[in-house]
């Protein structure tokens, strides 16, 4: 399919509208605004206080895809930030210095509250300390302990619930002037669970051959609503229903996953990917896969805003605060390495993938530190080859297209060779 023929599906149109409306709401000046992070975001809780949810990682991604992040990072580095540290943070700080303009062209209002969901990423803590310096607004820390032994403990859960009761909720009540109503929270959580069911169906649809969806590049879009300001809304339920119907249709037609330029004609490789994508060259990066017919059938990045498939978690309206705690404890980057290894290895087997590709991100130690060991362990468990590439989130200086392409090509050819390995002994002679 040529580029011009690519039409937006109903779900894509809907998502675009939803995102646009949310930015209008944030920048409209009529509601209170909270800044908070994607992993462990408490969207349902914020909704109980009519607080809009602004996510700085998403802003950094938006700026990167519009090729603006490089200049923002440079601005932050000029103001004293080290070249060594996370570029999400620097893109965010650089954006503030450059007028803090939202993607809809209007300036972001100063947040009324910083909800520091300290979940699965050390840098979050420093990031919001830095934002607090700027906005001097109420800042509330929700410390989510690391599930270091695989399973969250009762002590961890109790600690989070207590923080919600005694720190987070009182601060949000004060900021918003709205009294907390636990039944309202239950209602939102009920809606979350409905959307989450369809989300998991979508994630698992890639078990089909060919896979109707790409669960990394495409997955980024499909995750949008559930990871951001829409979990717990009717809109999210509708979005995932639309998406499901579209995917069902694709399966019926036997279509392969999509690329930036339309449907991929043939599925040659099925991959599981660990690590976030690069955003500054997102489409070029995607094309390196789609042009080779490589489809990502599962990825860990589609679990950063919550893990719903691995152990069947759904938000539970009967235990509203406890379920929020479990949600936070369970996000991908809050899981220990053995669990991540198990998750990815199971993906490779269950989705019948050719192997694991690690996109190691310079900015993100939470993801990256240990990925080389993970790769080796997963290779051992599955017997499938792994490959390792290195890029960054939003720093254009760390995306070397030639380098990445070289490794990807080698990897794809290696998979080809391994597939033919049965007959290779004869061919090789010696």
């Amino acid at each position: 399919m040529s580029r011009q023929e690519v039409v937006k599906s109903l779900s894509q149109v809907k998502q675009k509208e939803m995102i646009g409306r949310n930015y209008d709401r944030i920048t409209g000046g009529t509601v209170k605004v909270s800044s908070t992070f994607v992993p462990g975001n408490l969207n349902e809780l914020l909704m109980c206080f009519d607080i809009a949810n602004n996510l700085p990682e998403i802003n950094a991604i938006q700026n990167a895809m519009r090729k603006k992040s490089g200049e923002m990072i440079a601005e932050a580095e000029r103001s004293g930030h080290s070249e060594d540290v996370c570029t999400y943070v620097k893109a965010d700080i650089g954006m503030m210095a450059k007028g803090n303009i939202a993607p809809n062209g209007k300036p972001f209002p100063d947040p009324d509250v910083l909800l520091l969901s300290y979940t699965g990423c050390f840098t979050f803590m420093k990031w919001f300390e830095l934002l607090r310096e700027q906005y001097k607004c109420p800042t509330v820390m929700l410390h989510v302990p690391y599930a270091a032994d695989g399973e969250p403990t009762k002590n961890m859960r109790d600690y989070i619930v207590k923080q919600l009761k005694e720190d987070v909720i009182p601060v949000l009540e004060k900021v918003s002037g709205v009294k907390f109503d636990i039944d309202r929270l239950r209602e939102y959580l009920r809606k979350s669970a409905i959307a989450e069911n369809d989300l998991v169906w979508m994630l698992e649809s890639s078990k089909h051959k060919p896979s109707p969806v790409d669960c990394y590049f495409g997955g980024v879009y499909y995750m949008g609503p559930i990871f951001t300001a829409f979990r717990g809304t009717d809109e999210a339920i509708e979005y995932y229903k639309l998406l499901r119907a579209e995917i069902e249709e694709r399966i019926a037609q036997g279509l392969c996953a999509q690329s930036p330029d339309g449907d991929i004609p043939e599925e040659n490789y099925r991959l599981v990917v660990e690590g976030p994508p690069n955003w500054t060259s997102f489409r070029d990066f995607w094309r390196m896969f789609s042009e080779a017919g490589a489809v990502v059938v599962a990825s860990s990045y589609t679990k950063v805003g919550g893990v719903y498939d691995y152990d069947g978690f759904r938000h539970d309206p009967d235990h509203p605060l406890e379920t929020l705690a479990d949600y936070c404890l369970g996000v991908y980057t809050n899981r220990n390495l053995p669990t991540r290894v198990d998750m990815l290895a199971r993906n490779i087997v269950e989705y019948d993938a050719d192997g694991l590709l690690v996109n190691s991100i310079k900015s993100c130690n939470s993801f990256s530190a240990g990925q080389l060991v993970m790769m080796r362990e997963i290779e051992k468990i599955t017997g499938k080859p792994g490959a390792f590439i290195e890029t960054d989130l939003v720093d254009p200086r760390y995306f070397s297209a030639a380098n990445v392409k070289n490794r990807l090509e080698s990897y794809f050819q290696m998979i080809d060779q391994k597939r033919r390995a049965g007959g290779s002994a004869a061919a090789s002679g010696a």
Binding site: L372, R376, E379, P385, G386, A387, F388, E390, Y398, S400, N403, K405, N406, R407, E409, S410, Q413, M414, Q417, K418, R420, A421, G423, S424, A425, A427, S428, G429, A430
Partner: protein, 432 residues
């Protein structure tokens, strides 16, 4: 006959290897990559074919022909040189028609003529039996002779040296882009053989037999049944996609062909360092490359050589003279220069510092190997750095320290590893 060719387009040199249907290597060729991969590919391919004809000739004559062959090769190179020199001269003369040389055309012509006549005479010496040549590339030999002779010639003719240089610079690019057609090569080989047979008494081969054998060899058509491109420049090759292979796979397979027992391959080239694990069939099972910094690859040694104002090939021999190996931590090319100057200023010996730098590079390389899965069996070292004795010494030490005693293979033809793998892929593409 059907032949299968692999071409490895590196950042500095381009290599070709030609094999027959029975996997036998018939010939290999190398040329400088210039800035034109297309030309480099054609030149190296022609060189591989030339070498293949030599091989066929050797096969036809048998063992007794070694002496003749060596002599023939030398004479052929001389013919090739003279032929290129004539082309260069013609091209230079062609430039004289440019209006801006109107006033000086005659004196320029005389000056150029005198230079080329002198080079022609010198060529006999350059290609005399037993003479050592620094490089076999026409550009290097002709260029250095031209520089030497043109200065005096321009002075005599009272024309600016610069002008002669300009004409040369323009012309050499044109000449370098020319690839001799097969007929020209054939006639060069014939002339070469004539020279050998004329001058060399007792070559131990019957003249008639030699002439007839060469005739048969030249009559063989070397059909390019399948060509595979690899290396950094592969994406710029005018090849269809399916004829391109990753250099990692080609290196793995090439190393396997050279040393069937090898399971681990380390390649340190100009642009990157690769650690490759292969199975018993030469199939890559895992690989790692250096990350975005150039630390630990050949380019780093280039920086060091520039910094010390010595030739790249001198680094190893100097480092071998070290009496102690200091610990150098920065393999960062950006900091290496500063660290180097600092250490020299502090009175450390040049050879010791260089030994430390070689160790630092090999440390990085062993880390990449470790990352790719360690060393399990026979180890093969390839790439330009494999020619550096100090690097090889450190490699041996580090392998012993970390993995114990093992076989380490370094082929004198290691530079052709990738192209050899490519040629084998070319064969596989047709045989399957």
């Amino acid at each position: 006959m059907r032949t299968f060719i692999g071409i490895d387009l590196g950042s500095t040199t381009t290599k070709s290897v030609l094999i027959d249907e029975n996997l036998a290597v018939l010939g290999s060729g190398i040329t400088n990559s210039r800035s034109n991969y297309d030309v480099a590919a054609r030149v190296s391919k022609q060189e591989a074919k030339i070498a293949a004809r030599f091989t066929l000739f050797r096969n036809a004559l048998g063992k007794d022909a070694e002496h003749l062959l060596a002599d023939l090769e030398r004479n052929f190179r001389l013919e090739q040189f003279l032929s290129a020199l004539r082309q260069l001269e013609e091209t230079c003369m062609g430039y004289l028609d440019h209006p801006r040389f109107q006033g000086t055309k005659a004196s320029l012509r005389r000056a150029l003529e005198s230079v080329f006549r002198k080079i022609e005479v010198e060529a006999q010496v350059i290609y005399a039996p037993g003479a050592a040549r620094k490089s076999d590339f026409f550009r290097d030999i002709a260029g250095s002779r031209f520089m030497n002779l043109a200065e005096a010639a321009s002075r005599e003719a009272d024309i600016p040296f610069e002008t002669m240089l300009n004409i040369y610079d323009k012309s050499i690019i044109d000449v370098e882009s020319l690839v001799d057609p097969d007929e020209t090569v054939a006639s060069q080989m014939r002339s070469g053989l004539a020279r050998s047979l004329a001058s060399a008494e007792g070559v131990g081969v019957d003249r008639a037999e030699a002439l007839s054998a060469l005739g048969k060899v030249l009559a063989v058509e070397l059909e390019e049944t399948y060509v595979v491109g690899t290396g950094y420049g592969r994406v710029r090759l005018p090849f269809p996609k399916e004829q391109i292979r990753s250099e990692i796979l080609c290196h793995g397979l090439g190393a396997h062909r050279m040393f069937p027992g090898t399971r681990t391959v380390l390649d340190i080239g100009g642009q990157d360092t690769k650690g490759i694990q292969i199975d018993g069939n030469g199939i890559v099972t895992s690989f790692q490359m250096n990350d975005r910094c150039a630390a630990g690859c050949g380019r780093y040694l280039g920086y060091i050589a520039d910094e010390m104002q010595i030739g790249l090939h001198e680094l190893g021999p100097i480092a071998m003279k070290a009496t102690r190996v200091p610990r150098i931590n920065s393999t960062c090319t950006v900091f290496a220069g500063a660290e180097l100057r600092d250490r020299l200023a502090l009175g450390e010996k040049r050879e010791d510092i260089l030994a430390g730098l070689h160790r630092a590079i090999m440390l990085r390389a062993i880390s990449i190997i470790s990352r790719s899965g360690g060393v399990t069996n026979e180890f093969t070292f390839t790439g330009g750095v494999a020619k550096n004795e100090a690097a090889v010494r450190e490699l041996h030490k580090l392998l012993k320290e970390n993995y114990g005693d093992m076989t380490v293979n370094i082929s004198p033809d290691s530079i052709y590893t990738g192209a050899l793998g490519g040629a084998n892929f070319a064969l596989r593409a047709v045989v399957h």
